[in-house]
């Protein structure tokens, strides 16, 4: 296979960057979720002020 170094670099950077980003989002989410009551975590049915600036 030709250009092996470029292939590893090109594919590798995408896998590593996306993997790290996904892990960081999920870890942050678990941390924040531990502090939010279940009824407030319902993103599709939440009734708390869907209008910006209003409570």
């Amino acid at each position: 296979m030709t250009h092996l170094g470029f292939l590893i670099a090109g594919w590798g950077v995408v896998f590593v960057a996306c993997g790290l980003y996904a892990v960081s989002v999920i870890r942050r989410a678990r941390r924040v979720a531990a502090r939010v009551p279940l009824e407030r975590a319902r993103w599709m049915t939440g009734k708390d002020s869907d209008v910006i600036g209003e409570s």
């Binding site: 296979m1 030709t2 250009h3 092996l4 470029f6 292939l7 670099a9 090109g10 594919w11 950077v13 995408v14 960057a17 996306c18 980003y21 996904a22 989002v25 999920i26 942050r28 989410a29 678990r30 924040v32 979720a33 531990a34 502090r35 939010v36 009551p37 279940l38 009824e39 407030r40 975590a41 993103w43 939440g46 708390d48 002020s49 869907d50 209008v51 910006i52 600036g53 409570s55």
Partner: protein
């Protein structure tokens, strides 16, 4: 009085759900197939020169197309979603859409950075250079990336929720205008780029190569959807914590104190 049940935390679910777990599993299998198609099924780009009879083409470096183009599609899609969310923010002052716009812009920023990096890595063996300042597509993509960083910075500026949402919505709409410029740049300034016209629109490839490229784009859209769901839910949780965190902590402590008192009384 709020019962202990009502103060149950969301940590059991995080941002995952049955849907995201199933989608994640399907996508993992899809990634394995993607690698198989890109590195085993498809042939390298080798053609025979009509006059000299020598082998020409991109050889195995061509396989970078299956990662570079999907990343470009993710960036474009993410910024289109950001622009739609931004318009909804301006029209309906919707919190939900503001969070969608912000989540999508963050993924778009990552994808546009990867577009520049993978394009640069692909450019070295094909064009003999990692970077060309005179190339309009590279420059407009760089502007798109910088603009996405600007959008994310504007979201963090001081101000009321409404001011922040309105300011960032305006930048969010500019992002999609810039996509049009990036996409058309190779036609509008054809003499100032070494990029070719759209590989797909020009039907420059066919057979297993075209199928693998199409599959890569569909898979990337699936990955974007999965990532978007998680990132949006995280934004939602952060907003809920910022707004109600102190109230919820007090409620929780009161509930704890009440249950301790009850235990002592009985």
């Amino acid at each position: 009085m709020v019962s202990v049940d009502q103060t149950a935390r969301a940590d059991s679910m995080g941002t995952s759900s049955k849907t995201t777990r199933i989608l994640g599993g399907v996508l993992l299998a899809g990634i394995a197939l993607w690698l198989f198609l890109a590195f085993v099924v498809t042939e390298p780009d080798i053609r025979i020169d009509g006059t000299s009879g020598q082998e020409i083409g991109q050889f195995d470096a061509f396989r970078l197309i299956y990662v570079h183009v999907p990343v470009v599609f993710v960036a474009y899609t993410a910024f289109v979603v950001t622009a739609i969310g931004s318009i909804m923010v301006l029209v309906k002052r919707s919190v939900w859409w503001d969070l969608v716009a912000g989540a999508s812009a963050e993924i778009g920023a990552l994808a546009s950075a990867l577009t520049l990096i993978t394009g640069s890595i692909w450019g070295r063996p094909i064009w003999g250079t990692y970077w060309l300042w005179g190339d309009v597509r590279i420059l407009t993509t760089l502007v798109l990336f910088m603009l996405s960083l600007g959008y994310l910075a504007v979201r963090r500026l001081e101000g009321t929720a409404e001011e922040r949402a309105r300011r960032s919505a305006i930048v969010g709409i500019l992002l999609v205008v810039n996509i049009l410029i990036v996409n058309r740049s190779v036609e509008w300034w054809a003499s100032q780029t070494i990029h070719q016209d759209s590989t797909i629109a020009e039907a420059a490839i066919g057979g297993s190569k075209a199928f693998t490229l199409f599959y890569s784009i569909v898979l990337a859209m699936g990955l974007f959807t999965w990532m978007m769901i998680h990132r949006f839910r995280l934004a939602w949780l952060e907003r809920q914590f910022d707004r109600f965190g102190l109230d919820d902590a007090l409620t929780s402590r009161r509930a704890e104190a009440a249950s301790v008192l009850e235990g002592e009384m009985s």
